[in-house]
Structures are given as C-alpha cells and as structure tokens.
Amino acid sequence: MAAEAPPPSTEQAKLPTPEEFTEVQESAEFGDLRRSYRSFAFPLTIGFIVWYLLYVLLSNYAGGFMGAKVVGHINVAFVFGVLQFLSTFLIAWWYSRHAAAKLDPKAEAIKTRMEGGA
C-alpha cells in the first residue's frame, strides 16, 4: 500500500497555460480522443439505461410474461434480473477493454507532451 512509498510528485506536475489547453482542445488529436470516448460511452449509456428501463416497465406492465415459468419455480422475471447482472459485468469489461486499447494511449500521449513543457 500507500503509506510506505513516498508519494510521486504528481501534485507538482507543471500545469500548462490556458492557451495551451485551448490549443490542445482544438487539435485534431484531441478531437480524435474525444470522439473515441464519446462515440463509445454515450450510446452504450443510452443502451444500458433503455435495457434497464425495459426491465422496470416489463415488471410493471407485463406480469403474465414475467411470471411465466422457465424451469421449476424459476420464472422469466428471474432470468431477466440475472441477465441485468450479466449485462452489467459485460459492459464494464467491454468499456474497460475499449478504454485500454483506444483511449489510454491517446490520452497518455497528449498528457506527456503537455506536461513535458512542449
């Protein structure tokens, strides 16, 4: 853990000037990073919220369907609930894979250059 290691000096990292931030924000490289992030995270967020609301609405208004037995006493409602768990795990894994492959290298490159005093 923490306490032993001397804290790295991120607190003292050089902060670029406002002009540099504006310049980077308008750069193609940053635009690319923003696009890779937003085009992945935003639709996925809408997707899982719709999927979750579908579950809420079916629970409310489709009692017959949700109560239908699948196996023994296990009904559709249960399967649906467990699927929500699975989809949550899956989306978390999927986003993290995307972030590691597509976002981290781009973010790292920009950060290194900006903090390096370029």
Binding site: M1, A2, A3, A5, P7, P8, T10, E11, A13, L15, P16, P18, F21, T22, V24, Q25, E26, F30, L33, R34, Y37, A41, L44, T45, F48, Y52, Y55, V56, L58, S59, N60, Y61, G63, M66, G67, V71, G72, H73, I74, N75, A77, F78, G81, V82, Q84, F85, T88, F89, I91, A92, Y95, S96, A99, L103, A107, E108, I110, K111, M114, E115
Partner: protein
C-alpha cells in the same frame, strides 16, 4: 397471543443469553478499527492525506473500499428485508444499485479523478464562479449525506432492539449516540486513510458473513434454487405471486409509477453520491479509478446476487408474521435468518446471529464514517476554504475546519437517527439516491460534457433538483400520513409517491438547461478547454 409472537420472544431470549458474545464481537471490530484509525491518523500529515488518503491506494484496495462504502445497511438489512416480505419486488433494489455503477464507470469516475482534487465541488466549480457553485455543491453534498445517514441510523436502532432486547427509546438513542461518537473519532482522527482501511475491513467481513449464510441457506435446499424459491413462495402465504413482480408495487397505477420512480432514482443516483465520488481521489490516476470501479462492480454484483439467497431464504425459513413482528419493514430479516439457519434454540444459532449482527453493526459504522467524511470534507474544502476564506486557508486550517465539521455532523445525525425507526432502510437510502440524481448528477454531466453550461445553469440544477427532491419527500407518505411514516400522527402528504425521482430528476436536468440558456453571462470557454482536456487526458491531475 399468537404462536408466532411467542416464537419471536423465544428468539429474543435466546439472543439475549448470547448478548455477551455479540458485544464481544462488536467490541473486537471497534478496537481493531480504532487501532487502524490511530495508525492512519499518525500518517495523516497534509490535506491530501486527510481528504484523499494520500492518493496511493491500489485499484483493488479502493475497489474493496468503494464496495465497503456502498454496501450499506440498506443493501444488507434493507434488501434482504424487502425480498423477505415482498418477494421479487425487493430484487429491483439489487438490480438498480448495481446497474447504476455503469453510469459512474462510463461517464463520471475517470473525468472526476482527472479534474478534481478533494471533493465533488472541485469538479462542479471548475469552470464556474467559485463561491456560489461551491456553496451549492457543499449544501447538496451535506443534504444527500444526511439522508443517507438517516437510513444507517435507522438500521442501527433496529438492530439494537432485536439483539439487545432494548425497546426503550432511551436505549436506542444511546446506541445511536455511540455510533455517532465512534464515527466522529474515526473520521476526525483517521481522515480518508483511516476511513478507507475501515471500509476494506468491513467489506471483507460483510462479504464473508454473506457467503457463509448464503452457503448455509443453499445447503439446506441441496443447492436447488428452484426448491428454495418454491418453499419461499409457499411459506410466504402469497403463492407464486411472491416470485413475480408486483406484490409491493403492482396494486394500482400509482404504486406502479412509484416503482418506475424508484427504478430511475436507483440507476441515476450512484454517480451523484459524494461519499462514493471522493473515493476516486484515493487512487493515483484515472486508470486506477476505472479499475477500482471494475473491482467494485464485481464485488457488489456478487454480493447482491447473494442477497437473493438471504431474502428468499428468510422468506422460506421464517414465518412472515415473525419477520413483521420483529420489524414492520423487514429490516431484521437477515439476522433472524442467521438465527433460524443455525437453530433457534441452539448455541450455533445464537453464534450465527451474533456474528451477522456484529457484521451489520460494522457495516453501519463504516458507511456512517464514509458519509461523515464526505460531508465534513465538503464543508471544510468547499465552504470554509473556498467560500468563507476565499481560497486563503492553509492546509492546517482546512483540516481543523474538517474536524469541527465532523463533530457537528455527528451530532446532527445522532439527533436525526431517532426519527426514522420503522421505515425500510433500503427505501430511505433510495431517497438519498433520488436527491443525488436530481441535484448532483445533472450538474456533473453538464459540467463535464456541455460546453455552454454556465454558473447560473449549475446553480439552477443543483438548487432546483435539491429543493424539488427534498420538498416532494417532505410532503410524501414517507414523512407523514402513513402508519410507517416518520410522523404517523399527522398528515400533510399531498404528494402520493414515496420516491420523488420521476419528477425531481428530469426537473434537475431541465433547470440546468434552462438556467444556462437564460443566463446573461458567457460560458468561460478557456476554463472549459482546461477542464475538458484535463478530464480526458489527466494532464495536471493531482
């Protein structure tokens, strides 16, 4: 007297014989965590240590601590109780509480870690006029945390009456006061470092206890889940309806609307909870914040799947009369289940009851510490240092303010704790989620992603969401006009839903938009460039 009630009395007697064991186990936890706190207090030298635990926790450690902070009395006692009484409808809590983490993972955790320093207010005020936005952020942090505290204190009171046979108000208030004093000690001495370690210890205890009971329940049914559900349905007296949605919320269109309202509040609340958000400052960078959310999703998801076994196990093995007799909202179903699964008249049953109850106490204590830390940090950093002292306070002065705020919040929550005894603690926490989703989430999202967002927009969304959410709760059946309300003897409940989310969350978003398009000032585009670049790349992150 019905047989069920005699049974409860027996159980309570059995429990009181082993009162000593409960007290010993709980004292061990308290001693261990106090030791950690004193040790952490010695390591706490500057504000980054006090607020952010030195930012050097690993992703796994923080994932565990996030889980510890999140799996509150609501998750453990409340969900198990809701499932035990209402069957499938209680499951919504588990699902909503879990899916909500995706909002935090995809939209909030990393940008927040990259651009903030100590509090949620850091991000909200980043590109705005500091003083008004910090005041608003501090206010909503404290309000959300106090709602959440209320639920934990209700849980503490409930446990005490079950375990120690204390039913007098004075006895309950004494215990609530004890919890309050302990949390003041944890937070004011140990700061974030101490609190994080307490969360980790508690998470391990809670998960272990839950695995044990789940295993014993499943063992009883030879690991046949269908049999467990069948027995639960039969024993509940409700038949197959117990396994289908609608028992609690399906009565009419109004209750169905309440269900939707609750569902929305749960899924959008997590990413606006200040005590969860500040945990992301305890790791070195955004990548570690992402990994800690992933750990938390795994741990919390596993835990919520097990709450199904706890809830349906309680329904299958204990009569509904006994559960209700012990606590009208089912809050004691999980500890009762521990007693029954071990055998009501056996030492093993009493040991299990003692263990699970000590775990539940530990859970409450740890979550209360996390909430208190979030509110006192926000008070000291947002309101005292940046509003009152206009950014001129030293680290030492800020930390002193935080410690005094801790004492003050401790006293307030002790006072409030006495009010909320008979409400289901999961329902109470859902209110905190609704307030967080209405006041905080819209402002966080607009701040991070909407270039045009202005100070006026931020103020309107925070105060608009906050006032409407809290106002609707005040005039809801949770507060008055219902036998289980905080004030059952009066009735000023003109708002029919128990959860305000369906109105207050869209209202918060609407106000943020309206405040922005109607504002006369131009958005600070330079500051937004800084925030956007920082939030996505981590440039200049603390």
């Amino acid at each position: 007297m019905s047989p069920a009630i005699t049974h409860v009395t027996l159980a309570a007697n059995e429990a009181s014989e082993h009162r000593t064991l409960i007290i010993v186990l709980f004292s061990l936890f308290v001693l261990a965590t106090l030791g950690i706190t004193v040790w952490a207090g010695r390591q706490t030298k500057d504000a980054a240590d006090f607020y952010a635990g030195g930012r050097q926790f690993s992703a796994f450690q923080n994932g565990l601590a996030v889980s510890g902070d999140y799996m509150s009395a609501a998750s453990f006692l409340g969900i198990a109780g809701a499932i035990a009484l209402f069957g499938y409808d209680g499951f919504l809590y588990s699902i909503g509480f879990l899916v909500a983490w995706l909002v935090a993972l995809l939209l909030v955790a990393e940008p927040l870690r990259n651009s903030g320093r100590y509090t949620m207010g850091d991000v909200l005020a980043y590109r705005m006029r500091q003083r008004p936005v910090r005041t608003a952020a501090g206010t909503s942090t404290i309000v959300v945390s106090i709602f959440y505290l209320l639920a934990q204190m209700a849980g503490a009171g409930v446990l005490v009456s079950l375990l120690l046979g204390i039913t007098s108000d004075a006895g309950k208030i004494l215990i609530v006061a004890l919890v309050g004093v302990l949390m003041i000690v944890y937070v004011s001495i140990g700061g974030m470092k101490g609190t994080t370690w307490v969360q980790m210890v508690k998470a391990v205890l809670l998960i272990s206890g839950t695995i044990l009971i789940t295993f014993l329940v499943l063992l009883k049914f030879n690991f046949n889940i269908s049999d467990l559900l069948g027995k639960a349905a039969e024993n509940s007296g409700k038949g197959e309806a117990f396994l289908e949605p609608g028992l609690q919320y399906g009565a009419d269109n109004l209750t169905k609307l309440d269900f939707i309202s609750l569902g929305i509040a749960l899924v959008l609340g997590t990413a606006g909870l200040p005590h969860i958000l500040i945990r992301f400052y305890t790791v070195p960078n955004a990548k570690a914040a992402r990994k800690s959310v992933n750990w938390a999703i795994g741990i919390i998801g596993g835990f919520y799947l097990m709450t199904l076994a706890l809830g349906f196990g309680a329904a299958a093995l204990i009569s509904p009369e006994e559960i209700i007799e012990s606590n009208p909202s089912g809050n004691t179903a999980a500890p009762l289940l521990a007693l029954h699964i071990g055998g009501v008249d056996s030492a093993w049953g009493a040991i299990l009851l003692a263990t699970i109850s000590a775990v539940a106490f530990a859970t409450i204590l740890a979550v209360v510490a996390g909430l208190t830390l979030a509110s006192s940090s926000s008070f000291a950093h947002d309101i005292y240092a940046n509003v009152i002292r206009k950014g001129q306070a030293t680290d030492k002065e800020e930390m002193r303010a935080a410690r005094w705020a801790t004492v003050l919040i401790g006293i307030v929550s002790i006072a409030l704790g006495a009010l909320a005894r008979d409400l289901n603690v999961a329902g109470l926490v859902a209110l905190a989620f609704a307030v967080a989703a209405s006041a905080n989430l819209p402002t966080i999202l607009y701040s991070l992603f909407w270039k045009r967002f202005t100070t006026q927009g931020a103020l309107w969304s925070i105060y608009g969401g906050l006032i409407v959410a809290v106002g609707l709760v005040l005039f809801s059946p949770v507060v008055s006009g219902d036998p289980k309300a905080m004030f059952p003897d009066v009735d000023f409940a003109w708002f029919p839903l128990k959860n305000p989310g369906i109105i207050s969350i869209p209202f918060g978003f609407l106000m943020g938009w309206l405040g922005t398009v109607l504002s006369k000032e131009e958005p600070d585009v330079k500051k937004y460039a800084e925030l956007e670049v920082r939030s996505l790349t981590g440039t200049g992150a603390h």
